[in-house]
């Protein structure tokens, strides 16, 4: 068997085992929680017959292992069950909340990369100068300020006082019926349908939470970029390139930046994964109907169907991004081939 096939098979097997382990741990821990999902549905005033009927319908009279196997069977056929706290199928709920988070996270990571990487590079190249100090201070502030606090301050200043941005939520009610969402990514949908008024409204909603999350990502990405760049700029091959007569910025672009790409890709992938996992507090402050809020609501209601589906998706995100980072490593760094 060729080595690359063996490598792919090994990688796929480890992914399956990881996800299976993740689901098993979450499932059994969930069942041990002192929360009764039947009560969540029927209420505390329900009679015993109703309680027993729902208890049986949820399959709670079976052994834990049987419940887990039945859950796995349903999950493999794409059925995550019903979310008790919304009354919808979990898959329907996820199709609604996940694009909201993808849109917010993508907006934030674009800011994180667009500002963080150049800032980190400049800070490293001009190490010890005022520019470096400012970049580090800005980064430290982003690192140490809680995003929910920044969110509240942002709402007070930019929404309540200045009126520059829209308030909480993804879109104003007046615009909801003006277009037909296709992908669930409202900015994209509005742009594709040429609804620029809607686009403007959605943008005014996303710009504040997106910028606040983007600021946090930017802080992380710029600090890491600075650190990676400093390490590379101190290497002798960089000095050798300068001795050859290569200009400073060409050395930075073609040599140093090229060699930090692998590390940078990993950092960005992780930052994006954390954003996708759910910026719970930011989503709560901005009433953003996203994944983080859905997961938290599910947890508080003891709704294991919703929680397990969310855990599986978080696991898939991390495994997927790790896989992507691994592939990029192989592509960008000949030492890993």
């Amino acid at each position: 068997m060729p080595s690359w096939i063996a490598g792919v098979a090994k990688g796929a097997a480890s992914i399956v085992v990881t996800l299976l382990g993740l689901l098993a741990i979450t499932f059994f821990m969930g069942r041990m929680l002192p929360i009764d999902p039947v009560i969540s549905i029927v209420g505390e005033q329900a009679d015993k017959a109703t309680y027993d009927m729902v208890y049986h319908r949820l399959g709670l009279d079976k052994t834990l292992l049987t419940q887990f196997l039945l859950y796995m069977r349903d999950m493999l056929s794409g059925e995550f069950g019903e979310a008790l706290f919304t009354g919808n199928k979990v898959s329907v709920d996820l199709a609604r909340v996940f694009p909201a988070t993808i849109e917010l996270a993508s907006f934030a990571i674009a800011i994180g990369i667009g500002v963080g990487v150049p800032l980190g590079i400049l800070a490293a190249v001009y190490r010890g100068t005022a520019l470096d100090h400012i970049a580090r201070f800005v980064g430290l502030l982003g690192y140490s300020s809680p995003t929910f606090w920044l969110g509240l301050m942002g709402l007070i200043v930019f929404y309540a006082a200045l009126g520059l941005v829209a308030g909480p939520g993804r879109i104003d009610v007046a615009y909801i019926d003006m277009f037909e969402p296709q992908t669930g990514l409202l900015l994209l949908d509005a742009a594709m349908q040429g609804e620029w008024e809607v686009f403007g409204n959605v943008f005014r909603h996303i710009v504040l939470p997106g910028s606040i999350l983007g600021y946090a990502s930017m802080a992380y990405i710029s600090r890491m970029t600075r650190s990676f760049m400093l390490e590379q700029l101190g290497q002798e091959y960089i000095i050798a390139a300068r001795v050859k007569g290569m200009s400073r910025w060409r050395v930075v672009r073609r040599h140093a930046l090229r060699n930090i790409l692998v590390q940078l890709v990993t950092v960005i992938a992780l930052a994006y994964a954390f954003l996708l996992e759910g910026a719970v507090l930011t989503e709560t402050v901005f009433a953003w109907p996203g994944f983080g809020r859905y997961l938290t609501s599910g947890l508080l209601a003891g709704d294991m169907n919703a929680v397990l589906a969310c855990v599986l998706i978080i696991g898939l995100i991390f495994v997927g991004l790790n896989l992507l980072a691994d592939l990029l490593y192989r592509l960008l760094d000949p030492r890993t081939r």
């Binding site: 290497q235 002798e236 091959y237 000095i239 050798a240 390139a241 300068r242 001795v243 050859k244 007569g245 290569m246 040599h255 090229r258 060699n259 960008l332 760094d333 000949p334 030492r335």
Partner: protein, 261 residues
């Protein structure tokens, strides 16, 4: 040739100003090899980097091949002075093949006959065609240092600066690289200035040795005088004592085979 006339090199400004080398005066005749020895932080590498134009000097004059060079170097001046570094692992771009590494200086200086230059440079340092498309991590330490030397020579410089080029190598490989440098110096008439903390290494390649401490060039003497302990400055005596076991004859006894590192 290289002439340093009262060269002072300082980092930082105001109360943070740190003088790394002060009033250094040194002459390296054309085709000669001069060594600079001294402990870490003595300023020897700083002097080398100032000659290469990597860091500015605040006072004095540097003359290279009869021409006074300023703080900003022209392309021709950059081509004239090349440098080999200490770490054969860190001095080569990790994501480029040997071919790409050698092609880079040719592209920067827009030289013709790139193909022939690369083949010649590899052959001169004892590397074969099979090494040309390898990455640095696929080479041994000695082979990497040969690539670094080839990269320096590909621009046909008249001056070669060597910043501890053997300190990261095994002793046997050190001798091979030193023999290679000695041969290249003879064949190309290179003017060499070498920095090392190892007196035996310096004595193997250089006829004249300068001793540096705390940014000052304390004395300049010959390798023979150094080997026989005929030195003026007390610091140099201490340096000799710290290099106990230094025996020039033991390292220059024979030409080692340099065909493979």
């Amino acid at each position: 040739m290289i002439i340093l006339d009262n060269v002072t090199i300082a980092y930082g400004q105001g109360h943070r100003r740190l003088v790394a080398a002060r009033d250094v005066t040194l002459a390296v005749p054309e085709g000669a090899a001069v060594g600079l020895v001294g402990e870490s932080g003595s300023g020897k590498s700083t002097v080398l980097r100032a000659i290469a134009g990597l860091i500015p000097y605040s006072d004095g004059h540097i003359t290279l091949a009869g021409k006074s060079v300023g703080k900003r170097r022209t392309t021709a001046e950059k081509r004239m002075v090349q440098m080999v570094f200490q770490d054969p692992y860190g001095s080569l771009h990790p994501n480029q093949t040997v071919d790409q590494i050698l092609a880079m200086p040719i592209a920067i200086h827009r030289l013709d006959k790139g193909e022939a230059r690369i083949a010649k440079a590899l052959s001169e340092v004892g590397l074969g065609r099979e090494h040309r498309y390898r990455y640095p991590h696929q080479l041994s330490g000695g082979q990497r240092q040969r690539v670094a030397i080839a990269r320096a020579l590909i621009l046909e410089p008249s001056i070669l600066l060597l910043d501890e080029p053997t300190s990261a190598l095994d002793v046997s490989v050190q001798a091979e690289i030193l023999n290679l440098l000695a041969r290249l110096r003879r064949e190309h008439g290179l003017t060499m200035l070498m920095v090392s903390h190892d007196l035996a290494v310096i004595a193997h390649l250089c006829d004249t040795i300068g001793v540096m401490s705390r940014g000052l060039l304390l004395e300049t003497t010959t390798a023979d005088a150094m080997a026989s302990g005929e030195v003026v400055h007390e610091y140099t005596r201490q340096l000799l004592r710290s290099n106990a076991g230094f025996d020039r004859s033991s390292v220059s006894a024979g030409d080692l085979d340099i065909s493979a590192a």
